[in-house]
């Protein structure tokens, strides 16, 4: 119930005791400020790491091969391992239930020419799923599809920067370009968050490349995306099993680390996840410490304040104040101060975290877009307000229930 008279009493009391009101407000505001800044920075670190891995799909597994460095089963060392379509079919067939995306890749470097403009570009011959593995963003037209692969079509998807190099501002879609002497139709233009190199790149169907350039079944690399419903541990185990099976398939010595690499993002994710877990763990401990310090601060101030006001309470009681009215006067005053101070701390912290110049500095220290979810901070403020409520209620109740004559004689 809103009682104007009660609030008038409270404001008069706050106004009269500015120093202690400001002190308790500072305690709370500072606790919330530190708490918010701490979680903001931790969130900023998390954001940085998330973005660092954002170029490729988080569930990628890359299979690559080099030369053997150990003899195995009568085969000499120094043998060059070659991935073939059969290996791709083996992997995709054997593990179809654990794989979400799959693509073979052949790396090429071609001169792409349109009218008088020409330059050398990296070209990847891929399967359609590569779009999701590389997180390629289609700006115009479309990506490669199954029909392109089946028909071994001479179609090409070019990066935003190739389009700018060769076409400038003119439209490029459905135009024909000359790729090392063979005419390809541009069916799509893409962009990529991975940087300029990824956008100065072109994609063609893997089948087309195999037919036109060597007429063989060689592939350079196999990229997979494991089923995202797998747990991190299961995904790591899947990657390990895949590596063992590939060694058998390709006759590579089990300890020959140089000949085959199966790079599993699940492992990196797991490491980042553990790192983040520890970071949050520390943040929670330090953050709770800040709150506890704030709570102790308010409790101290309240005990002092109530001791100081005991005589006043005695006077009020002699004049007819009921204990409940004294308790609620003190508690409401504290709750008002902590709520306002919590809000000030929160606003200040939000303001600091959103300052552009600070953000620029922080980004050099791997802290990106530092911010805190409102829920966490409001939760922290509520904890402080409740603590202030308890911290004032307990001594206020004691003070309100001592005999008025003792209260009157208190100094």
């Amino acid at each position: 119930m809103f009682d104007l008279d009660r609030w008038r009493e409270i404001f008069q009391s706050i106004n009269k005791n500015k120093l202690r009101s400001i002190l308790s407000a500072l305690t709370v505001a500072f606790a919330i400020l530190l708490f918010t800044l701490l979680f903001g920075i931790v969130n900023g670190l998390t954001n940085f790491f998330k973005e660092a891995f954002a170029d490729d799909a988080q569930n990628s597994i890359f299979i690559r091969v080099w030369k053997t460095t150990k003899p195995y089963k009568g085969l000499q060392l120094g043998r060059r391992i070659q991935l073939r379509n059969t290996d791709y079919d083996y992997v995709t067939g054997e593990y179809s239930n654990k794989i979400q995306y799959q693509s073979a890749i052949i790396y090429k470097n071609f001169t792409i020419k349109y009218k008088n403009n020409a330059d050398a570009y990296n070209v990847r011959a891929v399967h359609p799923d590569h779009q999701f593995l590389e997180k390629t963003i289609i700006d115009e037209g479309r990506y490669l599809n199954a029909r392109d692969l089946k028909e071994k079509s001479k179609v090409i998807v070019i990066g935003r920067l190739i389009k700018r190099d060769l076409f400038g501002e003119k439209p490029a879609l459905m135009k024909r370009v000359n790729v090392n002497g063979i005419s390809y139709m541009i069916i799509g233009i893409f962009s990529d968050d991975g940087g300029d190199n990824e956008e100065r790149m072109a994609y063609i169907p893997v089948t087309t490349a195999q037919m036109l350039y060597g007429n063989n079944d060689y592939i350079s690399q196999i990229n997979l995306g494991y089923d995202p419903s797998l747990s991190l541990d299961a995904a790591v185990a899947f990657g390990n099993k895949l590596e063992r099976d590939m060694r058998k398939q390709l006759n590579i010595h089990p300890d020959d680390q140089s000949a085959l690499s199966v790079r599993n993002m699940a492992e990196a994710n797991k490491n980042v996840g553990q790192f983040m877990f520890i970071l949050y763990f520390i943040a929670i401990i330090v953050g709770s410490g800040t709150l506890v310090a704030g709570i102790i601060g308010i409790s101290n101030i309240m005990i002092f304040v109530i001791k100081e006001r005991t005589k006043e309470f005695g006077i009020r009681k002699a004049l007819g104040a009921k204990p409940a009215s004294i308790i609620s006067m003190v508690v409401q005053e504290t709750v008002l101060i902590t709520t306002l101070a919590g809000y000030v701390g929160l606003t200040l912290a939000t303001f600091i975290l959103s300052s552009e110049s600070l953000r620029e500095v922080l980004e050099e220290y791997f802290i990106k877009d530092p911010s805190v979810s409102q829920g966490v901070v409001i939760g922290a403020t509520i904890v402080l307000v409740l603590s202030g409520l308890i911290a004032s209620y307990v001594p206020a109740k004691r003070a309100a229930n001592i005999k008025p004559i003792e209260a009157l004689n208190a100094d």
Binding site: D5, K317, L319, G320, I405
Partner: protein, 230 residues
């Protein structure tokens, strides 16, 4: 108005207890102007505190306005104090951050009277004690006599049955003492029961009945010249 039978009160001091009131019998009728005299330690303040419901007695009976006072909780005591009693203390006990007017109005706040009305009534009482012009001053801007007059106005503002004054002139010089006593006399003349504690003969003589207390018992209880003069 106030009826006390065989009242006892002890305070624990370490393991022992100090027997302060040893069987007090006292009957004060409505409209009386009584002073309790006694040296310090005689138990006079304890008696007033019990009468004022600021403290509780151990044994005996206490009737205030016909009502038995026993096992009173703080809430009930607060209501009774607000309704029947007005206090005047030696050290004034004004709230330092409130103006004279707000101090006088405070008992009416606890009575549940709205702000406008209570400030009007409070001003009326300040006028009565001659401090209307000082209404918006804080206690530390007032002299001792003025503070005590504010306290008297505060004691009267709820129209209590009994005004209890604990050494009301103890902190005042003789001139202001007279003005405070004149005020108490005027209140009594209006029919209010006034109960004063003092150790000054001159003060006691201005009341109508003097009860002398020594070592926790009443040693004399007599009417004064002032009462006979009326």
């Amino acid at each position: 108005m106030i009826k006390i039978e065989k009242l006892h009160k002890s305070y624990p001091i370490g393991k022992d207890s100090l027997h302060v009131l040893k069987g007090i019998d006292l009957h004060i009728k409505e409209g009386e102007f009584v002073s309790i005299m006694g040296s310090s330690g005689s138990g006079k303040s304890t008696l007033l505190n019990i009468v004022g419901l600021l403290d509780v007695h151990d044994e005996g009976n206490y009737y205030l306005n016909g009502q038995v006072i026993k096992d009173m909780n703080e809430k009930k005591a607060a209501i009774l104090r607000n309704k029947f009693l007005g206090f005047v203390f030696q050290s004034f006990n004004l709230i330092s951050y409130k103006t004279a007017l707000e101090n006088v109005a405070l008992p009416l706040y606890y009575k549940g009277i709205n702000r406008k009305e209570r400030l009007e009534i409070a001003l009326e009482y300040l006028e009565k004690v001659g401090l209307k012009d000082w209404a918006n001053h804080l206690p530390n801007e007032l002299s001792g006599g003025q503070k005590q007059r504010v306290a008297i106005a505060r004691a009267l503002v709820t129209k209590p049955k009994v005004v209890l004054a604990d050494e009301p002139t103890g902190a005042l010089d003789s001139t202001t003492t007279d003005s405070v006593m004149d005020l108490l006399k005027a209140i009594n003349d209006e029919g209010m029961t006034v109960f004063v504690i003092t150790h000054e003969e001159e003060v006691a003589e201005q009341t109508k009945r003097i009860v002398r207390l020594k070592d926790g018992v009443i040693i004399s209880d007599e009417l004064t010249k002032a009462s006979k003069a009326v």
